[in-house]
Each structure stands twice: as C-alpha cells, then as structure tokens.
C-alpha cells in the first residue's frame, strides 16, 4: 500500500504534442507537467482550443495520425507509455486506463446492445465467460444507480436518454476497476439537472473506487466541486496548477482570475450590469505569441511578458503559476465594470402571447398497420405571456420543456395550433407566409449554433446586407454603410466585411448573427440559447454586447437558455417552462428567490457553483422530462417533484398563486409554506 501511494499513477512530464497540417507543424500542447496519485482527482480546465483533449489522447497514446509527441513523456506507474509495445499498451487500455467521453451517444456503438458492449470488457480483460460478463455488467450498472439493469442491458443505445447512456459509459469504464480514469467533458452535452445527477454519481464513485481521476472540462465550477487539484490550460500551456482551494479562491494567474470573474453569478443580483470580460480571443495554433501566450489579452502584461515565455514557478506548496507578475494579480479586482444607467422605461406590452398551443401529430407504437390511433406531441400546451418594450423576457427549462418550439411559434417558423399572438397591438398571422413584410421585419431570431445558421458561402457583407435589401433599401452605398455600422455595433471591425464565416471564430460568427438580426431594426429579437455553444470568456462579452444594444435601441428580447445564471443576468422577467406549460413567472429577481416552484428550485439546485460555501441545498431530479405525448395528469411535474404533496398533485391541475410584486407560481403548495420550506436552504446558495 505504502509503495503504491508514493509513486503517482500518472506522471506527465514536459509533454509537447505537435500536429502536422498542410500549412506546417504546430504545437497544440507545450511543456505540460502534472501528476496524479491514486484516490486523487485532477481537473484539467480549458476553453476550446486549449489542447485539453489532445492531452487526454496523448496520455493514452491515441493521437490522430498527424499528431506526434515531440517532447517529454507520459509515465503510468513509472513505465513510459511510449516505450511499450503495442500489445502491452492494449492490455493497459480498458483494463488499467479507463475512459469516459463527452458524447455518450457517439461513444456507444448504435448497432450493439448495451449489455454486449459492457460484457466485452469482462471477456477481454477479466477472462470471463459470456454469462459471467453479463452478470458483471448488470452488477456494475446497479452500482452507477441505473434503474432496472436487467432490462437496460437488452437495449440499444438509441433507446436510452443521454443521462442513462452516460451512466452506461461510466459503468463500462469501471468494470475493470481501472487505476486511472480519464473523463473528457462527461457532462457537457447533458441537461443541468442530469449533469447534477451524474456529478453526484462521480463524487460517490470516487469514494468506492480508488482510481486516480483525470477530469477534463471547460467548466471551472464543475471541477471545483469534483477535484482535489486543478490545472488550468490556455492555448496549449499550463497556466496555473494547485489545489482546488488555491486555484479557485486564491488564483495567482490573470487568466484564471478573469475566467472566474467573467461568469455571471447569482450574487451579482442587480440587473443591467456589465460583466467583467477578457478582451480578444484565444490565439489560433498558427499565431501563438512568442512570449506569454496570454499576454495579448492581459491587462497586467509588460514588455518582458510579450518577449519571454514565463516558466511554471512554485509560489507556495503545490501551487504553480506561469505568471511573472503573480503578486499583482489581485490588482485585477479593481477592474470591475461600472454599472450602467438603466433608463426609466415605461412598461408597455409589445408582444402578447395568449393561450398558444403547438401540437405535432405523433406516431404511436401499437395498433395495427392501418388502425393507428391519433395522438399528439403537445410541445407547447397553452402559454400566455407578454414582453414589454425594451425589456427582456428570459425563458428557462430543460430540453423537452417546449421553449424552442414556443420561440418558433412566435417567430412564425412553426404555425401555432391555436392561440393568439399580438405584436405592437397588431394581430400576427400564424406562419411567416401569413405575416406582412413589416411584421416579419419586426421579429428576428438568433440561433444557438452560428456554425450552421450562417451560410458558409455568403460573405459577412451579404449575410448582414440581405435583410436590409429585403426591407426595401436598394442603394448599394446606403446598404454598405449600414452593414459597416452594424458590424461596428457588434464590435467587429470593417475588415470583416468581405470575409466568409469559415474565417471567423465561434464568438465572431455569433456577433455576425446578432448584426444580421438587428439589420432590419426589429422591435423584438428572439435569442434561442445564443451563448450555449461559446466559450466562457466569449459568453461574457456577448452578454455585455446584447445589454448595450438593447439600451441603445430599446429592442425587446426573448432570451431562451437552460443556464439560469445567464438568464437572471440579462432578463427583467423570467418564465420557467416545464412540459409545454409555464410553471412560474415573474420579475427576474423575484423568481430566483424563494418561494419558488419546486421545479425552479430543482433547476437552481442543479447548477454547480464555484465558491461552494458550506452545505448547498441538494435537490436532484431523476430521469428526464416525460414524453409530451403522454402528459401526466394533475400537475405535470408530479412524476419528478421532490415536494409532491400526495394525491391532489396527481389528480388536480394546480392553481396559479400570486406572490408579491408580480410573481406567479403554479403549485398546490401554498406560497408561504413554500417560502418556509425553501428559505433556510436558499440562504446557503
């Protein structure tokens, strides 16, 4: 035991990985060193392009064919991974080194049952027979709290939800009790509520298994809750390394410091405040700065920083930073952006949605070839809401709550089944075809993924100029001027005018999408998860941009997101949706303070928080949103509600209860009782 503890399970020493591309050889990861002992969990944090996945693949010696380790080494229990013959390495894979991947849907073979895929591990590494391996698979699925393992092993991956699949992948990695477990963004594609459940599971498994864990993610809050130690990666360099406490509460690197600072948090509380941001963007592989890789974006940077790349130095026990000026990092505290004046706006309703429903016909199993019963997917099932002029309405909910469908109905991309939509006092047609040109101009959308919402063959000028042209301007010069003004408004220089989307980063593309939405001077912009595909450091600057644009133009927003912190930061009013219904709505500050609807409470509780002060309320929702075809009777949330009262919840639809200052909750539990139940826990958020 003693010997095993003293030698780290994994040692990465001065690791440098290069990729050979058509344009030359680039180093994706430079000079990285860290080690992990058994029982320890090390979090490697980085934004996209930081090289974190390259590190993971280099550790298991499975780099893409154009990638090569050009310096340093990786040792597993003292053995150099790169000196092993292939068959020896293969006996490490799976049995001693386990992996869990970002996307469980992609990591499991779609044509083989879960049971077989799990059994392969036992058969290959533990010399088990078919039956033993199956039994083992069931057993391990039980350990990851999988309901009904016996039936799950008979299923195919597409028959399970994302959270269930991730459990299967984790179970698969654990069958052999590996000494090293590498988890590459294991919760990134999942809903917040599912993420919380999986994170709990990982924390629980950490106690049962003595594996060393390498946890790779972009989310600092997640590692802060899971890991003992953290390494922060930026543009292929390790910027800071230390215990979770040291890095999160006493960061001594400007990048880490700013990264922690640019995330919207609940304690910011006040509305219409700009976030602290990191200017610029992550350097591309072919333009890595000569000196400190972060220098171009660092406000502390001096000439030496730009000229010489600083080494990683130990500043206190186990705490390393690669910043020469680490003693001055606290000065960044003063860089808080000032609060901006929120002009007094009269509350005039601009968009009114009344009793809107959107049903899709469902194909139902059972019934003969011909005699199929008619059933409907009730995506949006009677929603009433309004948005005031120049204000933001935030809509939150898990996937399957109907928020995107509602956005599509309001924009006319999908025709409502019934209900009424009014914009600026005028009745709107159901679909885009039935609406007038002027009404179309007035509602614009920004979609989640700018990679697919911009035509890759249209220049930025064409993309932004087209709506201007369609709205009746034909003078070329006039259009050009307006495009450039719009680009400036979204903080893109006019250099971008003739570029194609492929030449832009994700954040820049989303800026173009926002410029396009504003091109027709709309009264309402619907933003559907506009920040979800972007890096944390980019999210903050886009949030700021949206707030500034709103103040200048008095445009109303509908802001859809699963991220409650972001929603409360930008919104004046918040609507919480569950299974096609609104369950709570009101002033943003009110909705996110008790009393809340039990569903809102669970959503809030699921968010991982960085500075974890003492005990947090721990409410976990099992499973995912039920199918919108068979909606539970009574309160729609009753099947998952942690505060279910009993029979009444299953039989009667809950009434709307009004709280103070425009705050409504749809629940059987009286407001003051909810308040009493939730207040003591909420204090600890």
């Amino acid at each position: 035991m003693g010997k095993k503890d003293s030698i780290p399970v994994l040692e990465v020493e001065k690791l440098t990985v290069s990729y050979e591309t058509e344009l030359g050889v680039y180093q994706a990861v430079r000079d990285i060193s860290f080690s992990i002992k058994s029982h320890e969990s090390f979090g490697l944090v980085g934004e996209s392009g930081s090289g974190k996945s390259t590190v993971a693949l280099a550790i298991v010696r499975y780099l893409a064919s154009n990638g090569r380790v050009t310096g340093g080494n990786v040792r597993f229990h003292g053995t150099d991974i790169y000196s092993l013959p292939m068959n020896k390495l293969r006996s490490f894979w799976g049995s001693k080194i386990g992996m869990v991947y970002q996307n469980p849907q992609a990591a499991l073979n779609p044509t083989i049952t879960i049971g077989r895929q799990l059994a392969e591990m036992g058969k290959t590494h533990l010399g088990m027979s078919d039956r033993e391996a199956r039994q083992k698979a069931c057993e391990i699925l039980g350990m990851v709290a999988m309901p009904d393992p016996e039936s799950v092993i008979e299923r195919y991956p597409y028959q399970l939800s994302g959270g269930m699949l991730q459990r299967c992948v984790i179970a698969m990695a654990l069958i052999t009790r590996p000494e090293l477990l590498i988890m590459d963004e294991p919760t990134t594609g999942l809903d917040v509520t599912t993420q919380a459940v999986i994170l709990d599971l990982i924390a629980d498994l950490k106690k049962k298994f003595d594996s060393a864990i390498l946890y790779i993610t972009h989310n600092l809050a997640v590692v802060a809750n899971i890991c003992n130690r953290i390494g922060v990666l930026y543009a292929g360099n390790l910027m800071e390394q230390g215990t979770t406490q040291q890095v999160v509460s006493g960061s001594k690197h400007p990048y880490t410091f700013k990264l922690l600072d640019c995330v919207p948090r609940f304690e910011h509380g006040r509305k219409k405040q700009l976030l602290s941001v990191i200017p610029g963007s992550i350097p591309r592989l072919d333009e890595i700065p000569r000196g400190c890789v972060f220098a171009p974006r660092c406000s502390l940077a001096e000439r030496t920083c730009r000229a010489v790349r600083p080494p990683l130095i130990e500043i206190e026990q186990n705490h390393y930073t690669s910043c020469r000026l680490w003693e001055r990092v606290h000065e960044l505290e003063a860089e808080k952006p000032e609060a901006i004046a929120d002009g007094a706006l009269e509350d005039i309703p601009f968009l009114k949605v009344t009793g809107v429903k959107k049903y899709y016909p469902a194909r139902v199993k059972g019934g003969g070839i011909f005699g199929r019963r008619k059933k409907y997917i009730k995506s949006v099932d009677g929603v009433t809401l309004w948005v005031n002029k120049g204000r933001t309405l935030g809509i939150v909910g898990e996937s399957g709550s109907g928020k995107t469908t509602l956005a599509r109905v309001i924009s006319g991309l999908a025709g409502a089944t019934s209900g009424n939509i009014e914009l600026d006092g005028e009745q709107l047609g159901k679909t885009v075809q039935e609406r007038k040109q002027e009404q179309l101009r007035n509602i614009q959308m920004v979609f989640q993924n700018p990679e697919t919402s911009l035509n890759p063959y249209h220049t930025i000028a064409e993309t932004v100029g087209r709506p201007i042209m369609l709205m009746g301007k034909s003078n070329k010069k006039e259009i050009q001027d307006r495009v450039i003004r719009l680009l400036n408004a979204v903080k893109l220089s006019s250099h971008y005018y003739n570029r194609l989307p492929g030449e832009l980063s994700g954040g820049e593309k989303q800026r173009v999408a926002i410029a396009r939405a504003f091109a027709s001077t709309p009264g309402l912009v619907i933003l559907d998860e506009p920040l979800s595909s972007l890096d944390v450091s980019v999210q903050g600057s886009l949030l700021n941009l949206l707030i500034e644009l709103q103040l200048q133009s008095a445009t109303s927003y509908i802001f859809i997101s699963h991220d409650l912190a972001v929603v409360q930061h930008i919104s004046d009013w918040v609507v919480v949706m569950y299974l096609g219904h609104i369950v709570e709505w009101g002033d943003a500050v009110k909705v996110l303070k008790p009393p809340f609807h039990p569903y809102t409470e669970a959503l809030l509780s699921a968010i991982p928080v960085i500075d974890n002060k003492g005990v947090r309320m721990r409410i976990r929702l099992e499973g995912s949103v039920p199918s919108a075809v068979d909606i539970p009777p009574g309160c729609r949330f009753n099947t998952r509600c942690p505060r279910k009262q009993g029979n009444i919840c299953e039989t009667e639809e809950p009434p709307w209860q009004e709280g103070e200052g425009g705050h409504w909750i749809r629940c059987h539990i009286p407001m003051d009782k909810l308040n009493k139940l939730q207040q003591p826990i909420a204090d600890k958020i």
Binding site: V60, Y62, W93, G94, P110, T111, I112, T124, Y158, I369
Partner: protein, 314 residues
C-alpha cells in the same frame, strides 16, 4: 420486426402493381394489336376479328388487364408469338441459366468488393487505396461490351484458358458449364465490383472515424475483433443497399453480356423478344425483371433492418 417486414412487403406489391400497369399498357402503346402481330399486316378483317374475340381483345381494357394479371400470377403466361412455345417454360429455363451466371458474378464481386473496399479504407490515401480507387473508377466507366471483349481477347484468344463462347447444352449441370461461366461472370462482375468497393470504402472510412470505434480500441479490444464486431456491421449497412441495387445493374449487364458470349439467358431472351415484337414474351420477361428487382430491394431492407436496430423499431 414483423410489422416492418409486412410494410416492406406491401411496398413490394405496390411496386409490382404499378410496374404491371406500365407493362400492360405496352399493348396499348405499340402500333397495331396482338392480333395484327400474330396474323400479319395482310390478314383479313374478319380473321382479325375472330382472333381478337378468341384472345379476349374485344373486352374493356381494365378487364383485359385484370385477367392478364391473374393469368400471370397463376403462371399462365400464354404462348410466344414467334416460337409458338409456351412462354412460362421458356422463360423459366432461361431464368435458371441467367441465375447461374448472376450467381457466378455475385460470388466474384460481392466478397472481392467488400474486401478491397475495407483494405482501401484502412490504407486511406496511401498508394494501395489510390490504386484500388482509381482502378475501380475506370471499371465504372467501361461498359460490359468493352470489358467483355478485352477479357475474350486475353483469356480466350491469347491465353486460351477459358472458352470465348458460352453457348451451353440445355441439360448440362452447373459444374459442367462452370468454365464457360467464368468470363461472362467476370464481365458482369466488374462494373458492380467498382460500386461495391467505393461504397464499402467510404462507409468504412466514416465508421473508422467515429467515437465508438475509438472507444472500442481504447477498451483494449483486439483490432481484429473491433473490425468484425464494431466496424463491419455499421460499415456494411450502406453496402447492403448498394448490392441490392447492383442486382438491377446486373440485369442490364446480363442483356449485353449474354449476347456477347452467346449465352442463353433471360437477357438474350428479352433482346430476342423485342427484336421479334413478341409481346407475350416481352411482357413476361419484363415482369420477371421487375419482380427480381423489387424482391432484391425487399431483402436489402430486411437485412438492413436486421443489422441496424434503429430501422427495425421505427
């Protein structure tokens, strides 16, 4: 799975019905009617009238269609106009011959195509892959009468390994005529071989890049096992469809190849029927070809569903 099979079977029937309508309408479109064809252009009107009544051509069109279709289904395909022989027996005999030739072709191109496709995918962008891909592209471009002639020139005339003509004794057994089937077999195989190679290569390349194959390797499974259990099953899905479609090409190829090698198969029979305006024979052979085509597509769907559970449960 049963429901899926039944639905697919429904589609086969529908295809067959639509095709039968088209084929039947040939009698309406072609100049002159069957009676004129049988008796010749100089027949007396009364003789024509008699024959029409005898053949039922004076009945309404839809009744003619229904009786024609029911007769076809029960195997009463009528007599050939040019040879006076019974169509059913004639076609069935030729079908057996074509079947043997097609079988030889399939046995050549399906395994070779899949094998070469997988090899090319594993050697992606290396010289072996490029050689395989370029050669297969060349074969797609070359029609059967070119490849066939080249094969005859090399193997029959120059090397004298296989006979150039494949005229066979009607009662010969498969084994006896096998040497005569090799050259035409290769000829019809070549074009299809190229399609199978290309499809297998591209789908294998795609599957090799998926995360589940990566995760299978990183589970420590042996490469041969990963290939068999994880790669092939997914990579062969599109190939199955291509093979089924290739059966259709095969029929087209048969017509040319059979005449080139003077092989007595369905293809040459169809050619003969068309050149002699032998309507019952044309109808029967066309219907048969449609049947083969839709049945092979049906089996492709079933195999696809068997391999991919997502299709099965839709």
């Amino acid at each position: 799975m049963l429901r899926f099979t039944l639905r697919r079977l429904g589609f086969v029937l529908l295809t067959f019905l639509i095709a039968s309508l088209l084929i039947f309408s040939l009698t309406e479109i072609l100049p002159g009617d069957v009676a004129t064809m049988v008796l010749g252009r100089f027949a007396t009107p009364s003789a024509l009238q008699n024959l029409r009544a005898k053949l039922g051509l004076d009945r309404p069109v839809y009744i003619q269609y229904i009786s024609w279709l029911t007769n076809f289904i029960i195997g009463k395909w009528g007599d050939s106009i040019s040879t006076q022989a019974e169509v059913f027996g004639l076609v069935m005999h030729r079908l057996k011959n074509s079947g043997m030739l097609a079988l030889v072709g399939c046995l050549i191109y399906i395994p070779t195509g899949i094998f070469l496709g997988i090899v090319a995918a594993f050697r992606k962008n290396k010289w072996l892959d490029q050689t395989i891909s370029m050669t297969s592209l060349a074969f797609i471009g070359l029609p059967e009468f070119v490849t066939g002639v080249i094969l005859i020139a090399i193997f029959a005339i120059k090397l004298r390994i296989f006979p150039a003509s494949s005229a066979i004794d009607p009662d010969a057994r498969f084994i006896e005529i096998l040497p005569q089937l090799v050259l035409p077999g290769i000829t019809i195989a070549l074009t299809n071989l190229a399609y199978v190679i290309r499809m297998t290569r591209s789908s294998t390349v795609e599957v090799l890049q998926t995360e589940y194959v990566r995760s299978a390797y990183l589970k420590g499974l042996r490469p041969g096992y990963v290939l068999r259990k994880h790669v092939l099953r997914n990579a062969l899905l599109p190939t199955v469809t291509i093979i089924a479609i290739s059966i259709a090409y095969l029929i087209g190829g048969l017509i040319i190849t059979e005449s080139l090698f003077s092989y007595p198969g369905v293809g040459r029979l169809l050619l003969f029927a068309i050149s002699h305006r032998d309507l019952p024979l044309i109808q029967a052979t066309s219907m048969l070809i449609v049947l083969i085509f839709s049945v092979s597509n049906f089996f492709a769907d079933i195999i696809y569903a068997y391999l991919d559970p997502r299709i099965r449960y839709k």
